[in-house]
């Protein structure tokens, strides 16, 4: 049995993972990154609109401040975000954005040469710093450049199959070297999960094909609670057909939404902010129009940019113009873009404290897979990239401090024993006869989640979803794997990922079923109002043999008492 060892092992090579690894490396630790794809292929690369920081670069009567940013974020979260976490997010935003600029991010600029900022949904100020509409691409490439310069080793195209826990502590993982077909235990004094979202649980998602939520599953499997998983963000504008993201910046720059009757229908849903309402409200607005028969055939509305003019579109939104041409055959300079809501982001995730620590010593999490919680029931656009940077740094720093206190030597015998157990579990999977193909279950799960646990929810749908997910879990036991060798075994990977996704789907449905109110992205037709008296609290889901067990914990309120949320 081969055995690898590092001080800190980061799982995931997107923005949060790379930023955490850089922090650990700069502190002089032995850190490595493990990722199922080359880091530059991570889903962070697809982020478009920007990253929030109250720089106040756009001239205004009042100067923007971290307090304004925090208020917008908390109101946007429908008061479910932990306010101490939001304060940190906003206070540290400027340092993180300036640092990215110093490392070479090519932000768009104001007249005076400072970083340009644009308005985004649910924000009182033009606060979103951007690099045209390819901000994620710019940031990810810059961080990868830093990783290259610092010579941080990357285990590319390796999967993390399981955490190794001993005496109540995470001591490493089982890594799967996909090309060589080897399962190799990796010892680490600190393991940091930064695996991103689980969008592919849904049929319609803006997420990359690789977004299966594996990190959330690894933590959940090891007994760490998942927090607020019923809060799933549906982005208002995904391209009809492929559901590729059409950035909120399109509306930030002045784009209009029209239904099939030619009405700017957002007047009915967010009379003041219109198209720039927060995502949950705009997504529900669009879906309501479609459901009431005011959408176009197939179920979409129009996002119209034509009045912005060629120059502005080419300068500020070249990426989505290219996407619309490539994937829908529509040039936004000449025609409106057909859009519909699609799953986009997970507000919930692995429960962590303000430094990325989970309840399992030795295990940390940051980025979309974590729930600090800074987004509460609804995330504002521009805050996810910010979260990856702020909490990537904090988790990386804390993991470094904790790793420093750990002793150098470790018991190799435990790894040998666990490795043998793991191998025999796998053999069981290989011995099964295939009675049903994996993809059929996966496709059923996706359709189920979009139709029964989507934008609008109700008890009867969620009860059906609970039963169907349980049934799918049973059927998964009859899924076999034809290919018996480990190297390049896509079937095995898809099977393991589906196993994890079904567990996460169960947690989402269970949380949504339990929460008898409407808050942010979680909208219950049978409980259409927010109910602070009973539900101003976070959901925690723990894994048991019978499915998730739910507990609840209070929201941290500092200086922003819950108020009415109108836009």
């Amino acid at each position: 049995m081969e055995l690898i060892s590092h001080d800190i092992l980061v799982i995931g090579g997107g923005l949060a993972g790379l930023r955490a690894a850089i922090e650990a490396k700069k502190a002089g630790r032995d850190v490595a990154i493990l990722s199922k794809v080359h880091p530059l292929r991570s889903h962070s690369v697809a982020a478009q609109g920007g990253v929030n920081a109250p720089l106040g670069n756009v001239p205004a009567h009042v100067k923007d401040s971290w307090e304004n940013h925090a208020f917008d974020t908390i109101k946007g979260s429908d008061y479910l975000a932990d306010q101490d976490a939001v304060e940190i997010l906003c206070q540290e935003s400027i340092d993180r954005v300036i640092e990215m600029e110093h490392w070479g991010t090519l932000f768009s600029r104001m007249e005076d040469g400072k970083i340009a900022q644009r308005p985004f949904g649910g924000s009182g100020f033009p606060r979103t710093c951007y690099a045209a509409d390819r901000t994620g691409h710019n940031l990810l490439h810059v961080l990868y450049e830093q990783v290259t310069g610092l010579r941080i080793p990357v285990y590319e195209e390796w999967y993390a199959l399981s955490l190794i826990v001993d005496e109540g502590r995470c001591i490493g993982i089982f890594g799967f070297h996909f090309f060589e077909g080897k399962i190799i235990p990796i010892h680490a004094k600190a393991v940091l999960l930064a695996t991103g979202g689980y969008g592919r649980i849904y049929l319609r998602s803006t997420n990359a094909v690789i977004n299966t939520g594996s990190g959330c599953y690894l933590a959940y499997q090891a007994g760490v609670p998942l927090e607020d998983m019923e809060f799933v963000q549906f982005h208002p504008t995904s391209l009809y057909g492929t559901n590729i993201l059409i950035t909120e910046a399109a509306r930030g720059e002045g784009g209009y939404l029209f239904n099939a009757k030619g009405e700017r229908f957002m007047e009915r849903y967010a009379p003041n902010l219109l198209e720039l309402g927060p995502r949950d409200i705009v997504a529900r607005g669009i879906q309501t129009e479609i459901d009431q028969g005011y959408g176009f055939e197939g179920g979409y509305v129009y996002l119209d940019l034509r009045h912005l003019g060629k120059e502005k579109i080419m300068d500020r939104l070249p990426g989505i113009r290219q996407i619309a041409i490539d994937f829908a055959g529509v040039d936004p300079i000449l025609e409106p873009i057909p859009v519909q809501p699609a799953q986009h982001y997970s507000m919930g995730g692995i429960a962590t404290n303000l430094d990325g620590e989970t309840s399992l010593p030795g295990l940390f999490a940051a980025g979309e897979c974590a729930c600090v919680s800074v987004h509460g029931a609804n995330r504002l656009g521009g805050n996810s990239l910010l979260e990856t940077l702020v909490f990537g740094v904090r988790a990386g720093r804390k993991a470094t401090q904790k790793a420093e206190k750990e002793k150098q030597s470790f018991d190799k015998g435990i790894f040998q024993k666990r490795w043998e157990e793991f191998q025999s579990d796998l053999e069981e999977v290989f011995e099964r006869k295939e009675e049903e193909p994996c993809f059929r279950l996966r496709d059923e799960m996706r359709a189920l989640m979009t139709s029964q646990a989507g934008i609008f929810r109700k008890e009867s749908d969620l009860r059906t979803a609970k039963e169907r997910v349980k049934e799918l879990k049973e059927r998964l036991k009859k899924v076999g794997i034809k290919q018996k060798s480990l190297a390049f075994n896509h079937e095995l990977v898809k099977f393991l990922e589906l196993e994890g996704m079904l567990q996460l789907a169960e947690v989402i449905v269970e949380g949504a079923f339990g929460r008898k109110e409407s808050r942010g992205s979680h909208f219950r037709l049978d409980y259409p109002d927010r109910d602070d008296k009973h539900w101003l609290r976070h959901t925690l889901a723990f894994k048991t043999v019978d499915g998730p067990r739910l507990e609840y914990k209070d929201v941290t309120i500092t200086k922003f008492p819950p108020g009415k949320r109108t836009y």
């Binding site: 690369v45 090519l106 290259t148 990359a208 094909v209 590729i244």
Partner: protein
Amino acid sequence: MKSKVLTLRIKRFQKEKDPPQWIETFHVEPKKGMNLLEALLRIQDEQDGTLSFRYSCRGAVCGSCAMRVNGKLVLACRTHVEDLMDKPTFIEPLPYFPVIRDLIVDMSIFFDHYQKIEPYLHGKPVSHHLEYTMKEDERKEIDPYIQCILCGICFGACPAFIRDSQFLGPAMLAKAYRFFADSRDCRVKEILDGLDDQKGVWGCNTVFQCVKVCPKEVPPTHAIVKVRGKILRHRLTSLISRFWSLSHRVG
């Protein structure tokens, strides 16, 4: 006449098989708006779980799914199945790179070259709390080169590698120019010196193959020509100044 079924003839390679290389034909029922990557994923799900290829974003931004389709170098996700219905479509891995399995190639040489240009900003001193200022004109000069997604397609198309495999290649020269043109970077002479040989800008055939194939419209040849101009100007200036100092000493 257009067929109703998509026919893909895929060049396979699996080193443990005998023979390791073969061409296999698959048929896929097309759906409206389907792209080639979706068709390949359908095959992997429903027909042959061993078919290997890379994928991630399915939106032409991650650079994973570069391959050769009917002789053209493309991203599979950006290739419409609708355009492939006339005749069987021949799919091969991206050329130039060694094949690992089926359509997966070994890109380590690509990232070795990437590392050689020290592809990170060597920033001039600046206050911790303030951004560097930059004019939009300067940003627009750099912007086209920033679009590179490092998919490797330009390496597959570049004829200069036939002469010298150590040639840095289009993507890397575009990247080097991106730092050269960036006023925040303190390297000027270092970058020019590093590119002033056959492995650098002088190794390019200036046939614009990379510009033609780039899925993100990055123009590496333009960067190469610009750097050549800068190098020549530097040489001329140093020649003139040497001549001056020499003639002064004689005088």
